[in-house]
Each structure stands twice: as C-alpha cells, then as structure tokens.
Amino acid sequence: MAEFIAYLIAGIATGAIYALAAIGFTLVWQTSQTINFAQGEFVMLPAVLILLAVKLFGLPLWAGGLIGIAVFLLIFGAGFKLVVVDPMIKHGVLPLAIATMALSIIMKEGAKDGFSAEAQSFPSLVPTDMVNLLGISISLQHLAIIVVAFAAIGLLQWFVGGTKLGRQMQATAQNPTVARILGIPVERMVLLTFLLNAALAVVASLLISPIYLAKFSNGETIGLFAFIAAIVGGFNQVRGALVGGILIGVADSLAAAYISTQYRLAVPLVLLVAIILVKPEGLMGRKEERRV
C-alpha cells in the first residue's frame, strides 16, 4: 500500500508538470480556437533564454532571468499573436496549427544552435530537500510544482469568474462578435490571453527546468503529454488541464510500476481513446454546440 501511494504521489507530481504546460493549450483554444503545437517549446525556451542571457552578458542570474522573461513575453506572447496568429486566424484551425509546428522547429533548432545541443542544469527556486509526507518522501521541488499548478488554475478560475477583466475575457472567448457589441476591447482581450499564456509558460519553465534540465529537445515530450492531458481533461475548460494532467501522470506512473515499462506510454494513450469515445468533450469539457 505504501508502495502504491509512493507511485501515486510520483504520478501526481509528474502530472502537475503536464498540467502546467496544458493550461496554455486550453487558454489559447478558448480565445482563438487554435492548437499551439509549439506549446512544449514554449515551456522549454524561457529557461534557455535565461541561461543564454547569463552566458552572453555575464549577468547575475536574477538579471538574466528578467531579461530572458521579458524577451520571451515580447516575442512569444505579443509577437506570436501579432505575427503568426492574427494573419492566419480567419483561415481556420489547420493552417495555423501547421504554422505552429514550423514555429516549434524554429524554437527548437534556435535553442540548439544559439545555446547548446546539450542539457544544462538550471538553478532551482525551491530547495532540493526531501520532506516526509505521511511516511512518503517527496521532494520540495515536486511539492512546489503541485502547489503552483493548483494555485495557477485556482487563480485563473477566480480571475475569469470573479473579476471584470476576467469576465470580459470570458465573453470574448465565448462569442467575440457579441463581446464587441458590448463594448469589450476584443483585440486587447485576445492579446492579454496570449501574454497570460506566455507568462504561464515561463512559470512552468522555471519550475520544471531544475528537474528536467534545460535542453532544446525537452519540449517534445512535455508538449505531447500536455496535449494529451488537455484532450483528456477537456480543451474548453482551464481546470480540465489540471484533471487531465494529473490523470495522465498517475496513469503513466502506475503503468510503469504495475503493467510494463516498455509499454508505459501506451497506457495514457489507451486512456485517451477510451475517454473520448465515452465523453468526446473531455472529462471537464463543456459540450460545444453543433454548428449547422
């Protein structure tokens, strides 16, 4: 039993990583019905940019951090929205999704050529010590990721439901035409979502990179699992990302423990198929009206 709980907690911790990355999928989907296939790279890049700033300008870590984060928000929050999303959004989901695939190649190869092909260690914001929880040891790093994932989603829910700005954003997400008639600055709201997405990617990056190391190829795995988590949880609900992420993380951990390490990847995917056959909109998702 203790063994089972240990696997469970390991799964929740990994799942929280996926959840943090998956929030971005749901946010971008809600405001612009776009799937960002570069989401994994969005989580990979901030850490690399920070290390690069430190390396290039010989700055202390905090200053490099600020520069890296600012550059990232500017290019991949605002720039991404203005240069890539805006001109393409009216042409449907697919060309834009493909464009984000090309973007992911640019980010990945850019990080490799501009920084390093090898993994680099990234300093941890929280101590790397272990704590004992109910007889199970868990690292503070993992604990921090779990706490931040829950807090981020709680805050987002509160923001969307409990503040004026959030409600405006929600209205924009659900029906931009009506929102515009109501006098909501739709363009600014969409831009805000993309900035929020980039900011969350930075948070995820800062928390994950100390464990996962900073490496150009890290986005591949995180992106795929976050995508699966978003599908399972439901693309149109932010809390779907949390539920999906943790479910996938736990499934992965238990599969490695009790089924087969060689086929551990298969278990989350079979889960994915089973869930969408039963509940196509995802566990937490709203049914989207059929457009006739």
Binding site: A10, A13, E118, A257
Partner: protein, 378 residues
C-alpha cells in the same frame, strides 16, 4: 507545361553536384546534429573539427589539407542514407559517422558498394557482424564492454542480484541485450529490468521501482542527461546501493548535471578524458578550452576517427579510397606512431576495436580511474 520543365531543370541543377578538386583530403561527416542524437553528434562533430585543425596546423595529410563537411542526419535512417550517398557522389575520401545504429544500418551498404571506408561512432553489436569490410568502429562494442562489467560486478562489487535500468533506444537496448547473458553466466540474478524512454519527464517512478527491488547493485545504462536525472531521482528516493554504469554514467556531462548525486557511482569506462593517459587528458583540456564544455566519449571518437584516416593514408602513402579500408582492416595503430589516436588501437578484420579500458569511480564529483583493464586479446 513550361513551368514543369523549368521546375525539373531547377531541381536537376540543385541536386547535381560540382566535380571535386583533388588537392584536398575531403572527409564527409554524416552525423546526428538534430533529433534524438543531437548531443552525441555535436560532440563528435567538434572532436572531428578539432582533429582536422590539428592536422592542418602541421601540414595536412601527405601535404594536403583536410576538409571536413558535416551533413546532418536528423537521426533518421532515410536522411542518413541520402547524406552518405551525397558524400560519396562528392568524392569523399572516407565517410565519418554516424553514431546511432539505425542510421548506420541504413547507410553502410552505400559506402560498401562504393568501396569507401566508413568510420562510425556506434557501439551496438550488430553492424560489424554483417561481413561488411568497409565499416570501422572508434570504440569498443557493447559485446566487448559488457563482459568486463559482469566480471566487475561479480568480483569487485560482489553483487548477487542487480537492478537493470536502461533507455529503450538502440543504444540502451543493445547494451541491455548484451549484458543479460553475461550476468547469467556470472550467476548474478536480475531483480528488476526497468526500461525508460529517452526524454522521459520524470524518473521518480523508476527510482521507486528500483528501490523496491532491493537488489545489491543497480546497473544504469542511459544516455548522459537521463543518467544524471536518474541519479538525482535515486538519491531523492534514498537508494544507497552502488550505481554501476558503462562509459555514459561516469561521463563528464553526467557529473556536471547530477552534482553530488553522482558520488559513489562506478563502473567501466571505454573512453574518458579523465583516463590516466596524458594524451586523453590533454585532449580533454583543449576541447574544453575551445568549445566551453567537457567532451564526452563521442568527442574523443570523432577526434580519433580523423586520425585513423591520417595514419592509414600515410601508411599507404597515397589517397586511395579502397586502399584506406584495406590498410585499416586488421591494423594495429600505436599511439607512439600516431599520437592523434590517443591510445593504442587494434582494428580487427570485421571493424571491431580492441584496446585498453578503465574501471572508475566518482569521488567528490570527479571521475577517478582505479584500474586500467588490458586488451581482450593482448
């Protein structure tokens, strides 16, 4: 219709290659610079570049400068084949790389058909068993290294049971398939056999699994970054059993990334810049100065590969492609004759190597070589 002709003509122009001048020694390096093998490939590329610079600084090979062209394989067999074919069409004197077994398997017939030597960085057992006389290694194969590990586990570590953690790609699977029979021969029980994915997000579940198996030792056969992350996860789970590895586990990169979690790790090392051989240490120092990070074993392999070409060319005294392979086959290269190969190296008829190797341990974040193991067939 006209546009179709224009397109075809442009295509033809783009894909046909200019004739080559014979005033250079042209080596084509077909190597993993993107995809799963990018880290390994970058080390190899740097090593090869360094070797070319060293050779050219001393007048080249037979008075001709060495030119290396690097072609990325994207760690994809189809692309590797295209790149090797391109190298051969361009009149490459020899092909260097790749490292991963799949790309090697997809491209080795090309160099064989063209009768051009291909000097690769792969450690998998399979490709030297196919009777291809043009393929050459730059390191021990897994079939050569694993018996040494098994012996070490039995005699030095005195392990009765072991947990095996491996990465499920051609490198890790090859190593695991090579060590299991050796463990059986040595009478060591495999307590748990854990497969992991390259680029896996978290190793906690694997560490718990290993911990619960409660074996006498843990054999870790992962790529560098994954080795480091597994060591960290194992430390967090409080695994106190000795971590045993082969080459990668004790690599400089792992020590840098894992920090004190690597302390106490030990095992067999084929190539290391910390080996008690001055030439290797000197290479490691210069590499770090030039590229800003420590070379792993692939950097050493890339360096040696170019010097293997130099040695054989000077031995046959001409730039004969087929002769290069014939000279290398069965040769013994002494570091006293050609300092660039760094260690005495015996090339067997099938392209396998035999050379000394080391037993090492990590103490205070540094790799310490305890024992130098002799060649298998001294």
């Amino acid at each position: 219709m006209k546009s179709l002709w224009v397109m075809a003509a442009a295509l033809g122009a783009a894909l046909s290659l200019p004739a080559q001048a014979q005033d250079k020694v042209k080596l084509v390096d077909v190597i993993e610079l993107s995809g799963a093998g990018a880290a390994a490939g970058t080390n190899w590329k740097n090593g090869a570049d360094m070797a070319a610079a060293d050779i050219n600084a001393k007048g080249g090979i037979l008075g001709k400068p060495v030119e290396i062209v690097h072609y990325d394989t994207q760690t994809n067999p189809g692309n590797t084949r295209a790149a090797v074919q391109r190298g051969i069409d361009e009149g490459a004197y020899a092909i260097l790389g790749p490292i991963f077994s799949g790309p090697i398997g997809a491209s080795m017939q090309i160099s064989q058909r063209a009768e051009v030597a291909q000097i690769v960085g792969g450690e998998g057992a399979g490709f030297t068993k196919q009777g291809n006389p043009y393929i050459f290694r730059t390191s021990l194969s897994q079939t050569a290294a694993m018996p040494k590990i098994a012996k070490y586990l039995k005699d030095t570590v005195k392990a009765g049971s072991i947990a095996v953690v491996w990465v499920n790609n051609d490198f890790g699977k090859g190593g695991r398939d090579a060590i299991l029979p050796e463990l059986e021969k040595a009478g060591i029980k495999v307590a748990v056999d854990v497969s992991t994915e390259q680029g896996q997000a978290d190793f906690t579940a694997d560490a718990i699994k290993v911990k619960n198996a409660n074996a006498d030792a843990v054999f870790v056969y992962l790529n560098e970054e994954e080795s480091a992350r597994f060591l960290r996860a194992a430390k967090q789970q409080g695994i106190a059993k000795p971590m045993i590895g082969e080459t990668t586990l004790l690599g400089a990169k792992v020590l840098e990334l894992a920090g004190d979690a690597a302390n106490g790790a030990k095992g067999h090392v084929g190539l290391s810049t910390d080996a008690p051989i001055p030439a290797l240490q000197e290479f490691g120092k210069r590499y770090r100065e030039k590229y800003g990070f420590a070379s792993d074993h692939n950097g050493i392999k890339g360096y040696m590969a170019v010097f293997m070409v130099k040695w054989a060319t000077e031995r046959q005294k001409k730039l004969d492609k087929k002769g290069l392979a014939d000279t290398l086959r069965g040769a013994t290269i002494k570091a006293s004759e050609e300092p660039g190969v760094l260690m005495d190296t015996v090339i067997e008829q099938n392209g396998d190597l035999d050379r000394e190797s080391f037993l090492a341990e990590v103490v205070n974040g540094k790799q310490v070589i305890n024992t130098t193991l002799p060649r298998i067939k001294p």
